[in-house]
């Protein structure tokens, strides 16, 4: 009996291991191995030995630092903006039902099905120089607005729109844990909308917000298409910068160094994300 149980447990463990083995192998082969290769490749040079010259260069080069800084603040602002824009929609969808809610949901999730390249060209047609907005303004004899195209605002607007669906879905799953009865109970005792949000809802979706932010940061830090098509040429975000260093400047060493630095930042945010998840687990248990 005991032997049978034990072999059952062993079998379970074995099939569990097999289930895990494939993704782990893929992870090692496609992610960890190249990362390791890149890291080693930027500091060890067969024949000449160890050198961190390319890193010293990156962190002393004013242009590289400006690019890193631009990437950091665009990423931060875009992540926060996504949450700020998605939150009211998520609240509306969680606590209202009906045909309007269904329409709002469809509209908010729509960007998920539009490729970034199309988003970029639609953006240029609407907000770019001599785009629809300008045309309308001119027709109304109003002065043209300064176009966000090719300024940092360009990729921010594009990225906020592009990332809205995922942010919305993540926030909605967090709000799903806030029961309607608990919100009704607060309303009953006299809580207004703001009190309701800050005292009852926000404290209970904190970990979801951290997860959402971390998720966004991970994707945004190395975003390429929208910053490349809509952003300024200088300074530029890390995605386009890497690409240009690699192909236009034919400088794989510095491109790889930039990639490793980008990876290090993402890994740091990944850590925050994992810790938030662990904390959230503890919270619900």
């Amino acid at each position: 009996m005991i032997a049978a149980l034990r072999s059952g447990a062993m079998g379970g463990r074995l099939s569990g291991l097999l289930l895990v083995a494939l993704p782990v192998a893929l992870l090692i082969w496609l992610v960890l191995w190249p990362v390791l290769q890149a890291m080693v490749g930027t500091v060890y040079f067969p024949g000449t030995g160890f050198s961190i010259a390319s890193y010293t260069y990156f962190f002393t080069d004013a242009y590289s630092l400006r690019n890193l800084w631009l990437t950091l603040w665009v990423t931060a602002l875009t992540s926060v903006l996504r949450v700020v824009v998605a939150m009211p929609i998520a609240l509306y969808l969680r606590f209202r039902t009906g045909s309007i809610a269904a329409l709002v949901q469809a509209l908010a999730l729509f960007p998920m099905f539009v490729p970034s390249v199309l988003v970029a060209y639609a953006f240029i047609r609407v907000l770019g120089p001599n785009g629809i907005v300008d045309t309308v303004l001119v027709a109304l004899h109003l002065p043209k607005l300064m176009s966000p195209y090719l300024t940092p605002a360009g990729p921010i607007i594009g990225l906020v729109w592009d990332g809205l669906p995922l942010t919305l879905l993540l926030l909605l799953s967090g709000l799903g844990r806030v029961s309607i009865a608990s919100v009704d109970a607060a309303r009953d005792l006299g809580a207004g909308s703001w009190t309701l949000f800050t005292r009852i809802i926000l404290p209970r979706i904190q970990s979801s917000i951290i997860v959402t932010l971390a998720f966004n940061v991970l994707g945004l830090f190395s975003a390429f298409t929208l910053p490349f098509l809509l952003g300024p040429a200088s300074p530029e975000m890390m995605g386009p910068y890497m690409q240009r260093t690699f192909s236009d400047n034919a400088d794989p060493l510095n491109a790889t160094t930039q990639a490793v630095i980008t990876f290090a930042f993402c890994a740091a945010f990944g850590l925050i994300y994992v810790r938030a998840i662990a904390k959230g687990r503890k919270g619900t248990a």
Binding site: D184, R187, D188, I200
Partner: protein, 358 residues
Amino acid sequence: MAQVRLTGIAKAFGKVTALDAMDLVIDDGELVCLLGPSGSGKSTLLRVIGGFETPSEGTIAIDGVDVTHLPPERRPTAMVFQSHALWSHMTVHGNIAFGLKLRRLPRTEIRERVEKVLDLVGLAGYGARLPSQLSGGQQQRVALARSLVIEPKILLLDEPFASLDQHLRERLRDEVRDIQQRLGITAVFVTHGQDEALAISDRIVVLADGRMQQVGRPGEIYAEPKTAFVAGFIGAMNMLDGTLAEGEVVAGGLRLAAEGAGPARLAIRPEDIALTEPEDGRTVTVRRMIDFGSHVVIDSALADGTHLRIQTDKTIRVEAGERVGIHVEQWTVFRDGEAPSRYRSDTVRPFREVRRYA
């Protein structure tokens, strides 16, 4: 003074009519139970009173003031929800103090009032705990305290103990009744448990399909159900389909005196059937005997196989397959669109007198 007056209340969700033509006055200090099967509109009616739903038609007045379009926080009501309504990130004290803090009361008064109400619900000393550190019953006590602490005139409870086990539910409902009487507040209690309703209410409102079937004192509803639905829903009842003709109602081979003609439903309470010696047209076959200790229930079959439930004295013993005579002491005949007619027989026939105390 806290009287609730509902006039012509109706509520529709799209095509679903959740409530229809409700007229009801709940008096000051009364505990009224809303009783009905699932989907009958109990919660909807309670939410309409609490201000969480706006009725499609009709008006609600509390103490003569029209509150139909006031939001929940501007009504003198407080609602206790079924479950999952405590704020898990706040302590028990924080949960209860929330409503008082919103009213900007001084700290010392808040502390005093929270402690007093914790004492009232039997949770003195639990203030610092988190809801997750409490049992289900304690959690619902906190929910009750949270509503009581703001001193509402009307307490609304939506199946507050439905998720608890039977014993705890019975204890808590008695406590609620006790607290309600001590504070002298008006209360509306939603339940789908008839025992609960019979045990604690001053009056019961029986709902079915969004309509009021009957309003009355517990004993009255039990003894004199106005519709076949109420008869079948409250307490155990044998409901038999039968036919009225020639001063008799015939159902499943059973014949009882009754006026009228045409199809009818015959309702007999199990405890209104006594056992006698077998006699033509009044005989059943015992299928099973269930001994509840305090009384005995006999599941029997009429001549045509229809089940008949009989409740009788705990000393009586019968065997499966045995044929026994029955004597019906009270019965009610329901006909569509007519007031029910009630009958009673006044002859008492003893059953196996000798075996009674054997």
